[in-house]
């Protein structure tokens, strides 16, 4: 290998490491996670074994003998060293020694039985409350106790004295496991749930509308500012670049202020007898209008930048010539400006299709998918499912499956753009051949 090769690879190494860790690994992991049942309930790092009320119910459903599951649900009191140690710490050595001598190794089905025995001891505490407390120290229950490993769990179950057949044990272990497991259920869910279809429909609607607005309005801005005197054009460009450079949180906050029921629009319109209302969330249509405008202003300013710089590349002599030829303004736009913008328009369209398809931050900050879930697009739906819902468990596995759809679209589209924009012509060989 030549020296420059080594230098090149060395120069690429930091980037390669970062790319590997934060692009390749996540893509692979997204695929992996999508085949699991991971959620905030199961945790992500393996699981534990635990019997709770719900486990008991499912046990019965799965044919586990009812008598045994009832027994598992009950408390047990066993006199062992652990409990004795606790008693010694709380009530003194004398009491502990006496229990050890009299009751060591015995098993009681209920607390009352144990209390009765304790009352017989000479060094017992005087108050009934303390006695109850002491008895509780011997409570051994598998109910609601987490066991980190299967053996510990089975040992714990063994202590209750429940006899298990091999079949029983298998069912019990499987039911009591709280961790995640491999499954294809996520994909079945995606195709069957009504909410995914709604999200897909919303996404198509959103991309179509916003994209048209972005390109159309971006064009409008670029062309109008192109014809304005230099100073005015600069001012308008500066104004329209603001949505893009302002931090999204602040930008959306200003929209909220504009549309809130005590905000600018409501107050302004109340002068004309219009009831104040929350213009962003009071109806589906208004919510959509807001979302398209919020995203559209940002996207249009990008379009404006790209289109404007393409227009600046038109030789002034060409414009002058067309004016001498008697072209009116519309004809000039149609026959000179627009042809010049062909590639930038194609570029903006393809680029923004992909980013609109997958981005959700402005929607999340403004309507958060509301009212109801009428503006919830696929990306936001994914985000809600996996990372941010008020309703309870975060379903990482299902979210990953939803995200994988976008990942696949993203990769396919990126590769398509490489072809579209003639990547091969971009790659020229280095002129120094060392």
């Amino acid at each position: 290998m030549r020296r420059a090769h080594l230098l090149g690879l060395g120069f690429m190494t930091p980037a390669l490491i970062i790319v590997f860790l934060f692009f390749l690994a996540p893509v692979v992991l997204t695929a992996v996670f999508s085949f699991t049942s991971m959620s905030s309930g199961t945790g992500i790092s393996g699981g534990a074994y635990e019997i709770n009320e719900q486990t008991l119910r499912s046990l019965t459903d799965r044919g586990f003998p009812k008598a045994k599951s009832e027994k598992l649900g009950h408390d047990l009191y066993r006199i062992g060293e652990e409990g004795l140690g606790a008693v010694e710490a709380d009530f003194g050595k004398a009491f502990a020694d006496e229990i050890r001598a009299e009751l060591s190794g015995e098993l009681f089905e209920g607390r009352r039985d144990l209390e009765r025995e304790l009352k017989k001891l000479r060094s017992r505490p005087r108050s009934i409350r303390d006695l109850k407390k002491a008895a509780d120290l011997f409570k051994r229950s598998v109910l609601n106790t987490r066991f980190e490993s299967e053996t510990a769990f089975l040992d714990g179950v063994g202590e209750t004295g429940v006899e298990l057949t091999a079949d029983d044990q298998a069912v019990l272990v499987k039911t009591a496991y709280t961790g995640w497991s491999w499954t294809t259920a996520n994909y079945e869910l995606i195709t069957s749930m009504a909410s995914t279809w709604r999200a897909a429909k919303n996404t198509a609607f959103y991309v179509l509308l916003t994209l048209s607005f972005n390109v159309g309005f971006g064009l409008f801005l670029a062309i109008t500012t192109f014809y304005l005197p230099k100073g005015q054009a600069a001012i308008f460009r500066a104004i329209w670049i603001l949505p893009r450079i302002l931090p999204p949180v602040l930008y959306v906050m200003m929209w909220k202020w504009l549309t809130w029921d005590t905000g600018f629009l409501s107050i302004f319109l109340s002068n004309f007898g219009v009831e104040p209302r929350n213009w962003m969330l009071n109806s589906d249509i208004n919510a959509w209008v807001c979302i398209v405008l919020i995203n559209g202003f940002v996207g249009a300013s990008l379009g404006m930048i790209l289109f404007s710089s393409a227009l600046r590349a038109i030789p002034p002599s060409m414009l002058a010539a067309s004016e001498v030829d008697g072209a009116n303004r519309w004809q000039q736009i149609r026959h000179i400006l627009l042809p010049q913008l062909q590639w930038p328009i194609l570029f903006t369209t393809s680029y923004q299709t992909l980013s609109l398809l997958t981005s959700f931050d402005y929607i999340y900050l403004s309507t958060d998918g509301g009212p109801g879930r009428s503006t919830e697009v696929w990306a936001l739906y994914t985000f809600h499912t996996a990372l941010n819902n008020y309703g309870g468990v975060l379903q990482y596995g299902l979210g990953a499956a939803l995200a994988l759809v976008l990942v696949v679209i993203g990769i396919a589209a990126s590769l398509f753009y490489l072809r579209l924009f003639k990547f091969n012509e971009l790659v020229s060989q280095p002129r120094i051949e060392q």
């Binding site: 290998m1 030549r2 420059a4 090769h5 230098l7 090149g8 690879l9 060395g10 120069f11 690429m12 930091p14 970062i18 790319v19 934060f22 692009f23 690994a25 893509v27 996670f33 992500i44 790092s45 109008t224 014809y227 304005l228 005015q232 308008f236 104004i239 329209w240 949505p243 450079i245 302002l246 931090p247 999204p248 949180v249 602040l250 906050m253 200003m254 909220k256 202020w257 905000g263 600018f264 990008l302 790209l306 004016e323 680029y351 992909l354 997958t358 981005s359 900050l365 990306a379 990372l387 995200a403 976008l406 990942v407 990769i411 753009y417 990547f423 790659v427 280095p430 002129r431 060392q434």
Partner: protein
Amino acid sequence: MSSNFRSWPMTLLLGFLSLPIIVMMVYLFVDTVTDTTAGSLIPDRFTLEHWRFLFDAPQAGRSNIWSVTLNTFIFACSTSAIVVMTSLTSGYALSRLNMPYRRLLLGGVLTLHAFPTVTLIISIFLMLQMTGLYNSLLGVILVKTALELPLGIWVMKGFYDTVPWEIEMAGLTDGASRFTVWRRLVLPQVHPGLAALGLFSFLAAWSEYILPQVLAPDGASQVLATYLQNLIKDDRAPDFNMFKSVGLFYAMPVMIIYLIFNQKLMNIYGGGTKG
């Protein structure tokens, strides 16, 4: 541009369409230093009341604005520094050096540049949890860096592409190694690009909301974006004057940097960023 056409109808139309933004911006500034009676649009009193968040002790459950600002600053600076340093070497390698898999690497960078990175956030979230980087500023910095990197490399490669080959050839025949040529002869030519990229990544990190929100929601590593959004979300009776003051405080560096370095940044904004 062209004097044969009248321009005032266009000015008027554009002015009208720009009203929402103009109104928002004007009130953003005005509302931070005035009070307005409910139901009116005209401010009636000058006050600095809304800026007291800068000096008051934070309410229970809120972070101190200055430590949040410091976090944001660290976040933005580190991201910018790592992006710039990594792009500086990778951009050069892609632009100028012969190496195995060069085509693949170039294609890879371009693909990643177009690739929508938010789609990866779930697995990144889980990865950070597994590695213990969840809820730390470091985790967010690393992730943000990674997401900004493809653009950075591509932009930097573009700047390197403009350096004449002959300068490097001359350096080689003068006896310098490829590394020395890069370090002593090429690097000084791309300073402007470097500054632009640094500023750009700084602003990108400064404005970032989703990543800190998802990957480090805790108080200790809060940044201004999440701080402001928490204010807005929490409040039952929204105090927009205060929100705007915090927001203005938050956006000030962005606007200043933008005002000063407008031209430089435009190169990158126009260079096909996401949005």
